[in-house]
């Protein structure tokens, strides 16, 4: 009996070692490429900045205090959150019907349409943004069109609208792909059953499909929100020099100002805010619908 237990313990130890051997390499990569830089960044964010010596070793909260006491930086954060929330809402609004339609499509058309959704991802984000610039800029296609048709000038370049349009177009494919797979898992017969019981299609969707896909849609929306919060190229190229969002600001402090301690603090503040808002949004979903 005792021998059995000992043998069992030994085999369990062996199992543990085997599991460790499988998990080891991945853990090492994560440690080296993610945790270590983050720790380094955390350490930097507590350092002091001097215009002559750049970074001075210290342990001080002044970088964080500077952010939370300066209305300019708080304003940038407010803009960033505003743009991220708005573009996420628009993405869900546009993406939902698209994803649903795709999931319910006959297989032979589905492939083609999926390709259509994925195709923009083949083009680099910068190239796509330049495309938007050509469309939106003064003297661009939209401007020419509205001038000819309605005799009004339309200059959307360097406006928040342009940034939101850019971010939505950038995030939409990811969102549609994620939500499509969520809708795919909902049996068509559930919708049909609801309809047979007297629910018109829209009502059948809200009463039966929506509660079932809500957790998946929430995950897709969170992903979209995180991408928007951290958007860099779009705000820089479509927002122009006076439109400030967190990621470009961070890069500017880091690259142009050489203020590494403050840039590190900004990075942590951006990360923390994103995380906090994501958790908060998740709490808004009723418990019984959570994944």
């Amino acid at each position: 009996m005792g021998a059995d237990i000992a043998a069992g313990r030994r085999s369990r130890t062996a199992q543990g070692l085997a599991a460790g051997a499988f998990l080891g390499p991945a853990t090492c990569v994560v440690l080296v490429t993610m945790v270590a830089p983050l720790l380094l960044l955390a350490r930097y964010s507590a350092n002091r900045y001097s215009a002559t010596d750049l970074m001075i070793e210290a342990v001080t909260p002044e970088n964080y205090l500077r952010f939370f006491t300066d209305t300019f930086y708080l304003g940038v954060m407010r803009t960033t959150i505003g743009v991220a929330v708005l573009s996420t809402l628009l993405c869900v609004l546009f993406g939902l019907p698209l994803a649903w339609r795709l999931a319910r499509m006959a297989p032979r058309w589905k492939g083609v349409c999926m390709l259509g959704v994925i195709l923009p991802l083949f083009i680099g984000s910068t190239v796509r943004t330049v495309g938007w610039m050509i469309l939106l800029a003064r003297g661009g296609l939209m401007d020419i069109a509205t001038t000819r048709l309605f005799a009004t000038r339309l200059d959307l370049m360097f406006t928040p609208t342009a940034v939101i349009v850019g971010i939505v177009s950038f995030n939409l494919p990811y969102l549609v792909l994620t939500m499509q797979s969520v809708f795919d898992r909902v049996d068509v017969q559930l919708e049909q059953a609801a309809q047979a019981l007297g629910a018109p299609p829209v009502r059948a969707f809200w009463r039966v499909v929506w509660p079932l896909v809500l957790p998946g849609v929430a995950i897709a929306a969170v992903m979209c929100f995180i991408l928007s919060m951290n958007a860099y190229a779009t705000p820089v190229l479509l927002g122009g020099p006076r439109f400030q969002m967190m990621a470009p600001l961070l890069y500017w402090e880091f690259g142009t100002n050489n203020n590494w301690p403050f840039a590190a603090a900004l990075a942590f503040i951006l990360m923390g805010t994103t995380l906090l808002l994501t958790v908060f949004a998740n709490m808004l979903i009723p418990r019984r619908y959570r994944a």
Partner: protein, 388 residues
């Protein structure tokens, strides 16, 4: 006569492919009609056209004399039990059953009473607050029926309702569903590919193949008087022997001749024919000992199956006949070993001959088949065992 459901030349085409080809059917009030056929025969498409989820290419659907073809599914008032049951996984049993009543904006008290009544009907009173995933397959199926019946549907439509249950449960549930349907006077249409299920549940059956109705009738009609070789094979696994009719009473198979029990008049220009005989209507005897001997073959396989004994007999150059008989009791069949020569014997009422166009070949009236009285299988088996 006023039919609860009428299909008139109902058709469905997908591009050039015809899924359902001019199906016409009348279902009387309180009747259970089963659409039966192999997969791809169009039975499910027919049902879906009645539910409204597939749009017909032609023909019409009438409920109580009014066309419902233009009505969307949510206004057709049909109780549908889906193959997968399609219970709403996020709603309790009671909320599932109440769903249709909520859609009709019924008062809460009335709704609760109806839900309780339905759960009592399917004997699930204690499980009202469970979620569907906490129920067994049989219980889920009963919830699906309760949900479909709660709205007092004009028709109950069942799409392979038993195929997701294990074999042991299937018979019991089938019996219960049949009693429920009978007792409540429900008009029902069921789809299945399982002929035993169909035989057990139906008032009338519709056998379909390649989108067409092969035969409509009661169990006895289909079994005793199949309209086509397909029906003969599909209902009760008839043996089909292909050959040509000669002199109206011999079927030449190639390598062997069957002395037919009846006299037939093949249509002008074609003597090709198919003979259908059921496995349990054939009696085996040593050659030359039985008054109703039709053809002699060679036993290929003899298996003991418990209640029944099955022989597979090679006839002619390349055809096979399956023969079933009781393994014990007064009508026990004689057993023959593989390789033995054996005579296949049957009476006139057990054979059916079809012409090249799969129509029943008429018996020629001028010379009626000789009626032999009382082929007592007991004496036959005695003869058979003596011969050994």
């Amino acid at each position: 006569m006023s039919a609860a459901l009428q299909l008139r030349d109902l058709s469905k085409q997908y591009g050039p492919a015809v899924a359902v080809d001019r199906v016409s059917l009348d279902v009387a009030p309180g009747e259970m009609v089963v659409l039966l056929g192999p997969s791809g025969c169009g039975k499910t498409t027919t049902l879906r056209m009645v539910t409204g989820f597939v749009e017909p290419s032609g023909g019409d659907i009438l409920v109580d004399g009014h066309s419902i073809r233009m009505l969307p599914p949510y206004r057709r008032e049909m109780g549908i039990v889906f193959q997968s049951y399609a219970l709403f996984p996020h709603l309790s049993v009671a909320r599932n059953v109440a769903f249709g009543l909520e859609m009709r904006r019924q008062g809460r008290a009335e709704r609760d009473a109806r839900v309780a009544e339905m759960l009592r009907l399917v004997r699930l009173e204690g499980l009202a607050d469970r979620l569907p995933r906490q129920l067994s397959g049989g219980q889920q199926q009963r919830v699906a029926i309760a949900r479909a019946l709660a709205i007092r549907p004009r028709l109950l439509l069942l799409d392979e309702p038993l195929s997701n249950l294990d074999a042991a449960l299937r018979q019991e549930v089938a019996r219960e569903m049949r009693i429920l349907q009978r007792d409540n006077g429900l008009t029902a249409v069921m789809v299945t590919h399982d002929q035993d299920e169909a035989m057990a549940m139906a008032d009338r059956l519709v056998v379909m193949r390649d989108g067409r109705v092969q035969q409509i009738g009661r169990q006895e009609d289909l079994y005793e008087r199949p309209a086509t070789p397909f029906v003969a094979r599909f209902i009760g696994h008839s043996n089909l022997l292909a050959g040509s009719v000669q002199d109206g009473q011999v079927l030449a198979l190639g390598g062997a001749d069957v002395a037919l029990a009846g006299r037939y008049a093949p249509p002008a220009g074609s003597s090709a024919a198919t003979l259908a005989v059921r496995p349990e209507r054939i009696v085996l005897a040593p050659p030359g000992t039985h008054p109703e001997e039709r053809v002699v073959g060679r036993v290929a396989l003899s298996s003991y199956l418990g209640a029944a004994v099955e022989h597979v007999v090679h006839v002619g150059t390349d055809q096979r006949v399956v023969v079933n008989g009781a393994s014990s009791g007064p009508a026990a069949t004689a057993r023959f070993a593989a390789g033995e020569a054996v005579a296949l014997c049957w009476g006139a009422e057990s054979e059916r001959v079809f012409d090249a166009a799969d129509r029943v070949m008429p018996r020629s009236a001028s010379n009626p088949a000789p009626v032999r009285s009382g082929h007592d299988s007991q004496t036959i088996s005695k003869v058979a065992s003596n011969a050994r």
